[in-house]
């Protein structure tokens, strides 16, 4: 069945024609997913809701441009990822509070087991690594960012991405390859240093 004629396609059509109830349904349906994407990238519990609001406001104002080439969630995913990286670019990852980067369980575990100095080193290393990746992700296009995130973070296969984005599998492979190459080259240009090691 053509996506446009699915129940979700109909919901989008209603939202496109200005139906506020349809838009609320979209928010209800995808708010948890959006929160999850934002928290994964930003790791700032306090800012997740603000960013999510921005995301849905963007969805509302640009839903008329949604052309049904991908599913609604794929389109919302792209908006969310861009919003998160914009946020990080503006805020500078280094300024993020250390504890917010870990789950509550992690914080408790670290507090109980690790000496203060180790904890600080670990936090610095995690933040430096995150900062570095955010900087590098700025060097790839929005589409490449979306592809990388869907593949690496969401764990979709090339076949699944091909179906979701209505692109040939080889096109997906080539786009991902170019995006990865860009990251490597950007890292070489940035400081000729490898990615900071992951915190143990």
């Amino acid at each position: 069945m053509d996506y446009e004629n699915t129940p979700e396609g109909t919901l989008v059509r209603r939202a496109q024609s200005g139906d506020e109830t349809a838009f609320r349904e979209i928010v209800e349906k995808y708010q948890s997913k959006v929160f999850s994407i934002i928290h994964g990238i930003v790791r700032q519990r306090n800012d997740v809701e603000d960013i999510a609001q921005q995301v849905f406001a963007k969805v509302y104002f640009s839903i008329r441009n949604f052309d049904f080439r991908s599913s609604l969630i794929t389109w919302i995913y792209k908006i969310t990822v861009n919003e998160c990286f914009d946020y990080l670019r503006k805020k500078k990852v280094r300024k993020l509070v250390y504890e917010s980067d870990m789950s509550e369980d992690e914080v408790r575990r670290v507090e109980n087991t690790e000496p203060g100095v180790d904890r600080q080193t670990r936090a610095d290393s995690t933040l430096a690594r995150r900062d570095y990746i955010v900087k590098l992700m700025d060097r790839v296009s929005d589409e490449e960012k979306q592809l990388l995130m869907l593949k690496e973070v969401e764990g979709y296969s090339v076949e699944e991405l091909s179906g979701m984005l209505r692109m040939n599998e080889n096109t997906i492979k080539v786009k991902l390859f170019r995006a990865r190459q860009k990251l490597v080259k950007a890292a070489q240009r940035l400081d000729k240093a490898p990615v900071p090691p992951a915190a143990a």
Partner: protein, 149 residues
């Protein structure tokens, strides 16, 4: 990177590349180093995955707050059409100055052309009897205005 390696690269990142891919990497240092560099970014990107238990749940009424914000923006945009802002007032002030300057220069050139600028000269010129016309009346008014203190 060789085509054969590139073709299986994404399966490698998904953890299900065929043995032939790794055989190729073992024999090709160029592909191996490129894949190793990409491996690091693949791992780094996975850090953006949220821990499912740690994601904050949307608070009650989140949808309402979103809609409220949207209407707020709508309202601001609508008022934006009618509220001129500082730039508008700057333009108005600039345009007024231009009009005043051109009007002033027009009056000065007109008075120079008439042969005298002080009120007494103008009055002397206009004391001489002359035919009454519309132009004279206008001049008369101008003289009165110019000599008025």
């Amino acid at each position: 990177m060789h085509d054969s390696a590139m073709n299986e690269l994404e399966r490698h990142f998904s953890g299900d590349a065929p043995q032939s891919f790794y055989d190729h990497l073992a024999a090709c240092p160029e592909c191996r180093s490129e894949v190793e560099a990409m491996d690091e970014f693949s791992l780094a990107l996975r850090e953006f995955k949220a821990a499912p238990n740690d994601v904050p749940a949307p608070r009650l009424g989140f949808g309402n707050r979103v809609v409220a914000e949207i209407f707020d923006r709508h309202e601001k945009e609508a008022w934006g059409l009618f509220s001129p802002g500082a730039a508008f007032f700057r333009r108005i002030a600039f345009a007024s100055l231009l009009v005043l300057a051109s009007l002033g220069s027009f009056l000065v050139t007109r008075e120079n052309g008439a042969g005298g600028t002080d009120a007494a000269t103008i009055m002397a010129q206009h004391d001489a009897p002359s035919g009454h016309g519309e132009g004279n009346d206008r001049d008369q008014i101008l003289v009165t205005l110019a000599s008025y203190r």
